[in-house]
């Protein structure tokens, strides 16, 4: 399906003299607010939309202004729209968000994984639901406040490249975007760094400038993800079991559920009081979570490293050669490491790292880049 032309003129006014209309996904945070402000300044016909994804009144979460999309944040987004005088709407996405983001998030933890809900939100809401909205509202582009850039490739076709703020770069979360949509996307703050974005917000008098970053998972809030999962499922669904020591299999402790652990975790394992481990011994890390036996395996740091990773459900934003040497990130905060990427089947890849990487974590994604170009990624099973 390639319903969009690959080559799209991105100037604010079309040859017919009509201002091009941009649907801006606004969370109420600084980034998307500045994105909208910049588009207004450039002369685009801006329409703002906030996705109402979670009914904060129906749960015990203390509504956090600072997580995204709480009702207070909707007010902030609306205030920005009022300030610049562009239309603003709230799209009800609660049911879709629950089905495609919350439920897989909870299920993932119960399968011993560490899910990436932001990618699902991008896949099924921002770059699907809002792409539909973009078309329906007669908009030419969809803009978000992601730290990412759109640049013409060698063939002139727009491609997604990493942000100029390498610390904030969010292309990792964008690997599932349908390549046919890319020509219609805009990331207006991708060429800026966070402090520049804050300065613009200050200059433009957007009161949210001092709001803190929304780094956590928006629907989890301050309660922590374990509490969130326990609030979503019955106690009987939680998989309690043993913490076992590699390689002996010795049971070191009981745990209340595998959802409380993540790969590479060192703290909070409840092993501190173990008398026969001396301080000279090396610390223990979680390196395997088994949802079948409900065992959480711990071992020395060396257990965490691996060289080969198979990923499933791979998505591509650009062509890659089989066995090509690419930079691969295995989690958002990972700097990236070089690897050969081999095709095993149409949607399965074998990634062979040049140096062992730490804590390859099921539920996360391996995302690959050629220099700054985002090429695609796959899910770590």
């Amino acid at each position: 399906m390639n319903e969009f032309s690959d080559f799209v003129d991105r100037s604010p006014v079309g040859p017919d003299g009509r201002r091009r209309r941009v649907l801006v996904a606004m969370s109420g945070g600084v980034d998307s607010s500045v994105a909208a402000a910049l588009l207004v300044e450039q002369g685009f016909d801006v329409v703002g939309v906030t996705m109402q994804v979670w009914d904060y009144t129906s749960c015990d979460i203390v509504e956090g202004n600072g997580t995204c999309c709480s009702s207070l944040d909707v007010d902030d987004a609306r205030a920005v729209a009022d300030r610049f005088g562009f239309p603003f709407y709230v799209a009800n996405c609660e049911a879709k968000f629950k089905a495609t983001v919350i439920d897989p998030f909870v299920a993932g933890y119960l399968e011993g994984k560490t899910p990436l809900p932001c990618v699902n939100c991008n896949t099924f809401l921002k770059f699907d639901h809002l792409v539909t909205r973009m078309k329906e509202l007669d908009c030419d582009f969809l803009a978000t406040g992601h730290y990412a850039k759109i640049e013409p490739g060698k063939d002139g076709r727009p491609m997604i490249v990493t942000s100029d703020d390498s610390w904030k770069d969010q292309t990792y979360f964008l690997f599932t975007i349908d390549p046919s949509v890319v020509p219609r996307l805009m990331f207006p703050i991708g060429h800026l760094n966070k402090s520049e974005v804050r300065n613009i917000a200050e200059e433009k008098g957007l009161l949210i400038a001092r709001k803190k970053d929304s780094t956590g998972i928006c629907f989890v809030g301050t309660q922590g993800y374990t509490n969130f999962i326990e609030s979503q499922v019955g106690r009987e669904k939680l998989l309690a079991g043993n913490i076992r020591l590699h390689p002996s299999g010795e049971v070191l402790a009981r745990h209340d559920g595998i959802h409380g652990f993540t790969y590479g975790q060192r703290k909070g394992l409840g092993l501190a009081t173990r008398a026969d481990r001396t301080e000279t011994e090396s610390p223990l890390f979680v390196f395997k979570i088994d949802p079948v036996t409900r065992d959480v395996w711990v071992g020395e740091e060396s257990c965490l490293f691996s060289t080969n990773v198979t990923v499933k459900d791979a998505r591509f934003l650009g062509e890659i050669e089989d066995g090509e040497r690419l930079k691969v990130k295995i989690r958002y905060a990972h700097k990236g490491a070089f690897a050969r990427v081999h095709r095993k089947s149409s949607d399965e890849l074998e990634i062979e790292f040049e140096e062992p990487v730490r804590s390859v974590t099921p539920g996360q994604a391996a995302v690959f880049y050629r220099e700054s170009q985002l090429l695609g990624g796959g899910w770590i099973p």
Partner: protein, 426 residues
């Protein structure tokens, strides 16, 4: 963006008042080239109301004051009460000013039950429907937690509560209160309140009707309906927001929700909102205009609906065959999505809605339409159009053209085609 030429607009108001209205609109930061078709959510203040505002505002004294400054506002209050009472067929002692329809609804239900409980009345059964306004639905939810047995009478696609269904559910010595709206805010369907009341009275139940959507659209006579309580709100009738009315029949049990300095004969405390109350009183003094206005609106609405049915394939009108007020049209537009439709029309200069106005601005499929047995898909492709006193033929023409264009575009994007088996009959 559609720009309307207002020069040819035939206003029902005098030119001078129209100018005042435009001035007021500009002052409020609104552009006058928009078409407002959401009169069920709220009505614009009538131009004559706007011209009188400053004179009412000058009566700023406290009507409870004994000194001279209390006289003017007290007079305003009395005049308003008289004209409201006259319009709804009540005595002025039975008319209580509140802040809004929601307060009136809550006060009727809570106030009645509280007063009866104090007297040791053991009855705990309440009959209502799923069509009611959230201020009642949520009050009933709260009452369930307090031990009341709230039963909702099912409603079919006609959108009309059947009095027989109410009658069959009444329980002697158990049913304490019956509450049904007079006019539904989404479909405009008029409910058989008189018949329901007659049935309810046979078991001695109290009867409340939410008549918020009826005031100014149809003749409302509380004595003829026979109800014990009825709720009204000024801002659905071209008055300012901030004034509601609760009719409470003489002798009907009623505890206050708000205790205060003895206002409204100790039934509703709080210094009266004279400005809003005066505007409501003023509109009620024009009750003899209601019938004629409704006729004009009915012609426009019927014209609008016939064009929609003729020109938009597979469009239908919800509750078309039921008795409806003249101003409301609930459209069902398969192959579209109400939320997107609303946004698109808004950008094109038309204010309509998908159902009850919701403060979050994030519409769910209408619970009212779902309760009537419409599928989720049908509810999601519904659009509510509410005409008003100032709606013109030209506005309707423009709206039809825009609606057709937007619906066609949305259907095209969704690859929707009229089903070949059903031939369009109109």
């Amino acid at each position: 963006m559609t720009t309307l030429t207002r020069s040819s607009k035939q206003s029902l108001n005098s030119p001078a008042s129209d100018q005042a209205l435009d001035q007021a609109r500009t002052a409020l930061g609104r552009t006058s080239d928009r078409v407002y078709l959401d009169h069920n959510a709220t009505t614009p203040p009538d131009s004559a109301v706007l011209t009188k505002l400053s004179s009412w505002a000058l009566d700023w004294g406290n009507p409870s004051s004994i000194h001279q400054h209390g006289r003017g506002p007290k007079t305003r209050l009395r005049e308003a009460r008289d004209s409201v009472s006259k319009m709804i067929g009540a005595s002025s002692l039975e008319t209580i000013f509140t802040s809004c329809g929601s307060e009136s609804n809550t006060m009727a239900v809570r106030g009645a039950l509280s007063a009866l409980q104090k007297k040791g009345d053991p009855r705990r059964h309440i009959l209502s429907s799923a069509l009611e306004h959230p201020s009642l639905r949520r009050t009933f939810d709260a009452l369930k937690l307090e031990g009341y047995d709230v039963e909702l009478v099912p409603v079919d696609r006609s959108g009309r509560v059947n009095e027989k269904d109410v009658e069959a559910r009444l329980r002697p010595n158990e049913t304490v209160l019956v509450s049904f709206m007079l006019v539904n805010n989404e479909t405009g369907v008029i409910q058989p309140i008189k018949e329901i009341t007659r049935a309810a009275k046979t078991v001695g139940a109290l009867v409340h009707t939410d008549a918020v959507q009826a005031l100014g659209k149809i003749k409302v006579d509380v004595k003829e309906l026979g109800v014990d309580y009825a709720s009204f709100a000024g801002h659905k009738f071209y008055a300012l927001r901030g004034a509601g009315v609760l009719y409470s029949a003489r002798g009907a049990p009623l505890d206050p929700l708000v205790y205060g300095g003895g206002q409204e004969r100790h039934r509703r405390g709080g210094t009266e909102n004279i400005l809003s109350i005066a505007s409501l009183g003023f509109m009620c003094s024009r009750s003899d205009e209601v019938e004629g206005r409704a006729e004009t609106i009915r012609e426009l609405r019927n014209y609008f609906e016939s064009r929609v049915l003729l020109e938009i394939p597979e469009a239908s009108i919800t509750c078309l065959e039921s008795p409806r007020v003249a101003s409301t049209s609930s459209l069902l537009l398969p192959g579209t999505d109400g939320e997107t439709l609303l946004m698109s029309l808004d950008m094109d200069g038309f204010s309509v809605s998908t159902g009850a106005a919701c403060s979050s601005g994030s519409p769910e499929p209408s619970p009212v339409l779902l309760a009537m047995g419409l599928t989720r898909e049908e509810a999601q492709c519904s659009l509510r159009v509410g005409l008003g006193w100032s709606t013109t033929r030209e506005e309707i023409e423009l709206f039809i053209e825009t609606l057709k264009r937007v619906v066609t575009r949305l259907r095209g994007l969704r690859n929707w085609h009229p089903s070949p088996t059903e031939e369009q009959v109109s």
